[in-house]
Amino acid sequence: MLGLKTDWVLEPEPRDYALADYEGCQAKWCPGCGDHSVLNAVQRLCRDERLPPEQTVFVSGIGCSSRFPHYMKTYGFHGLHGRALPVASGIRARRPDLNIFVATGDGDCCSIGTAHWIHALRYNMKMVVMMFDNNIYGLTKKQTSPTTRRGRRTNTHPDGAFLSPMNPITVSLGVPNASFIAQTVDWNPPHLYATLREAFHHPGFAFVRVMQRCPHFTGDNFELFQTDPSKILLMTHPDGVPVDDALIRTFTTRVEHDPADRMNAFNHAMREDVLPIGLFYRDEEAEHYDSYTREGLDTTPAEKVEAMDKLLDLYCV
């Protein structure tokens, strides 16, 4: 408590953690909400990756899904509607040592936060972004979101949503320097976990769209995919989301997709007859903005004063 800087204290062994080490407040989502299963998967991931809770930050916007940080026992930042990504980028800018996760909803990310989403994809700073897509505004009680399918009745469009939905995957694929774009579903824990794990090990900005059930407002939304698994298109590849044979066998509709192939990723992403899951695109060579933002971190106070003295000399009369 002396305010001692202990950056240099090395932990001889990574600590082991239990799930309880990551469990924050009791989650207050509705029973059957898909957010619960993402929370479970993430807590398992943290434990398995032995992430020190104090080195881990969950950043979110506003929405049901954005309550996520409160349910973790790590550092958290539950900020403003639509603005999780600028905050997370700012945290990352000078803290290469932290593990950063972002929880955002379809309204949070693809409506009010769209500008930040597009630019964050391009900045490609290291973090895992989980976009909880329930095709609806949950917290504010059933308004149309950008991903609500056309014709669905909501409180803002009681005669049915006017326009066809936006496709967050094709939008992401279109952003230059985007480097990791995946899709998974909350009701398949092994695939969800494997996708998040892959995202966590990605060196840049890993965007994962999680199809998330909202029994309260859009209970029928993903029913078809749950009752008829053949409607889900499993994308497999040695460079994709690793899935074991047992899991593969549960999917009858499969396709081999090389995540290096961006054009083909578009083709899969645009399919409307099936719901594709897996890794659409990965580019580990993409540039990282954080490699610039963290430059000069090791500048000492003495060096700073010396440099400023020189600068001031230029203004001297």
Partner: protein, 632 residues
């Protein structure tokens, strides 16, 4: 004093040098003709020679406005004095015009007076275009009728001996003329020209030095009367820079690591200076996708223990409001610089105004107390950044630095700041956090608390913009809300208790006390000085803290018969019947009336230019005469 002989062939006469207390020089051209470069060098050389200097840029709103157009006026006003100067002064004494049209923009601004010497490029009288010749000749007659002393100067003709395109040389030629006219140190100016053009190669450098000599010898042959402004006595080493450069240097001296911004005039140039130099101190300029992202990024960096600043102007401030509220609510240290411009909306992007005060104080929904500082000189632009950073950390919240377009481009010498390591932000604390200490462990007296930084073991908490208790747990319960909002308010009260009353300029009792804030200080104090010399019982005070206000204001105000503010923002005019009974006050007046319950009067205008002390003298005299009438 008609010291100008027109024929170029006039014999060299013995110099007649007149000593001056001060002079105001304007160099006005189309944009792109380099008048600003000439102005800067002239101002800097004068500062180096020990003069008091205040320089302001004359900026057109467009990058390349049409040539020879009134709104295209671009250049510099340089006020040089035998004592320290803190404002741009009244009317110009000498004007160098590259064409007659741009002068009209200055005339609109009330920049000239009867007797102003205008040195005007005379090539237009022989222009092949008839309409150009005509407008030039008409303007010449008009300018003389207005009482200006106009001298035609063959700038282009002289320049063409050395360069093919005189538009790229006139400015340095003019510098030669000014060097002679004001008896500046010629070697020093040659050195400064060399420093400026060295990088462009020997050829460019040599032709510029020739242009300088040519302007100098033209003046020597044609202007028999010259002036000298003696230096003031101050042996301390000085630096010369503008307010935005000072803010940028202040950011670095304060140990900022991140400047997160989105370009907006007149704030942007702060980030330009930072972008050019920040690396040297290990800092980074983040140009965000918009102002919301800019402040969000800064808040993220700060949450993670790194000191950050975001810099903006009116329209950007509007976008940042929601995040400002979050920084107050969740107590995230952050310095926010607002270089004010004319508003509302896009307003007057390049012009000065002090219209953001109430928006900064009250612009966030909900109760959002924050600290607001207003530098009044270039020197304070530097030092206030260090203070702001410290206050932000100590009081755990956003701190505003309210500058304006006048300070942003005003150039002034000030004592070279002494830098030290303890002005820098401390390294981030990563020691273990005592888990028994809550993340908002508010001190019940002061509302202060220390915050855990990610990485500190035992300190993990979830920051939230929702109502929360000391553990940062979301609570909507009414008692907690009342209490926690009070905690944030207590911080301002605690800070106020540590402040001293502001210093009065003049006597601390009298007839009229003029209250101002920010960049108007120089003009106000100059006006007050002149009126005091006339025997008036007038004083002034400049408020550097606008939130919390410095203590003792009510008592101070009571010692004067009348108190009024002078501001560059809109208020309804006193005598206009349209506002009878519903007169809207100037912003500081509104604040002070509410806080002191004193009937504070005000005079404010939005001319888009700095206030001239001469105009203030008239205004204040008038108000004082009214008072006398009222008491008789």
């Amino acid at each position: 004093m008609n010291h100008i002989v027109s024929p170029v062939t006039a014999k060299i006469q013995k110099d007649a040098v007149t000593l001056l207390d001060e002079h105001i020089v304007e160099i006005v051209s189309d944009s792109g003709e380099g008048a600003q470069t000439a102005g800067q060098i002239f101002g800097q050389a004068s500062a180096m020679m020990g003069n008091g200097v205040w320089t302001v840029e004359i900026i057109p709103a467009e990058i390349e406005p049409p040539s020879r157009s009134v709104p295209g006026a671009s250049g510099n006003r340089i006020r040089v004095g035998a004592r320290a100067l803190h404002n741009a002064g009244d009317k110009a004494d000498v004007v160098i015009g590259f064409n007659e049209q741009v002068l009209y923009s200055r005339i609109d601004q009330g920049a000239f007076k009867k007797g102003t010497h205008i040195f005007l490029e005379n090539k237009w009288e022989n222009d092949p275009r008839e309409d150009v010749r005509n407008t030039y000749n008409e303007a010449l007659t008009d300018l003389r009728e207005r009482g200006y002393k106009v001298t035609g100067v063959p700038m282009e003709a002289c320049c063409l001996e050395y360069v093919r395109d005189a538009r790229r040389g006139k400015n340095i030629w003019v510098l030669g003329l000014l060097c002679r006219l004001y008896n500046r140190d010629k070697d020093l100016m040659r050195k400064m020209i060399t420093r400026r053009f060295q990088a462009k190669g020997e050829k460019v450098l040599n032709s510029n030095l020739q242009l300088f000599e040519s302007g100098f010898s033209w003046a020597r042959s044609n202007l028999t009367q010259t002036w000298r402004i003696p230096p003031r006595r101050d042996d301390r080493p000085h630096v010369v820079m503008n307010g935005n450069q000072a803010l940028a240097m202040g950011c670095m001296a304060a140990g900022m690591e991140i400047c997160s911004m989105y370009p907006i005039t007149p704030a942007t140039s702060v980030s330009h200076y930072l972008a050019a130099n920040f690396k040297k101190v290990g800092g980074f300029v983040h140009q965000a996708e918009d102002e919301i992202a800019a402040i969000g990024f800064a808040i993220g960096a700060s949450y993670a223990g790194k000191t950050a600043v975001t810099i903006t102007s009116g329209p950007g401030l509007a976008l940042k409001t929601e995040f400002i509220g979050l920084a107050v609510m969740a107590e995230v240290p952050l310095v926010i610089v607002d270089v004010q411009r004319g508003g509302p909306s896009t307003g007057l992007p390049t012009k000065v105004e002090q219209s953001d005060l109430l928006a900064v104080l009250h612009g966030s929904p909900g109760d959002a107390p924050k600290i607001v500082l207003a530098p009044s000189t270039i020197e304070e632009c530097f030092h206030f950044m260090i203070t702001a950073r410290r206050l932000a950390e100590e009081f755990r919240g956003p701190v505003f630095v309210l500058s304006d377009a006048n300070l942003a481009t005003g150039v002034q010498p000030f004592p070279r700041p002494r830098l030290s390591e303890d002005q820098l932000s401390p390294p981030i604390d990563q020691s273990d956090w005592d888990p028994d200490v809550a993340p908002y462990n508010w001190d019940s007296e002061s509302g202060l608390s220390r915050r855990p930084i990610p990485g500190q073991r035992g300190g993990a908490y979830v920051l939230t913009g929702l109502g929360h208790d000391r553990h940062s747990k979301v609570v909507y319960e009414s008692g907690t809300n009342q209490k926690t909002i009070a905690m944030r308010s207590k911080k301002l009260a605690a800070l106020q208790r540590t402040l001293k009353p502001p210093t009065i300029f003049g006597d601390d009792t009298g007839d009229l006390l003029v209250v101002g804030w920010g960049s108007t200080r120089g003009a106000v104090e100059e006006a007050v000085t002149r009126l005091r010399k006339q025997g008036r019982k007038i004083s002034s005070v400049n408020l550097q803290f606008l939130s919390p206000l410095q203590p003792g204001l009510t008592e101070m105000f009571r010692r004067f018969k009348k108190v009024m503010t002078i501001e560059i923002n809109y208020s309804d005019k006193k005598d206009d019947p349209a506002f009878a009974g519903a007169r809207r006050p100037a912003q500081l007046a509104m604040l002070l009336r509410a806080r002191t319950l004193i009937d504070i009067d005000f005079w404010s205008r939005v001319p888009g230019s700095p206030l001239q002390p001469g105009i203030l003298v008239d205004v204040l005299k008038h108000r004082m005469d009214e008072m006398r009438g009222a008491t008789c």
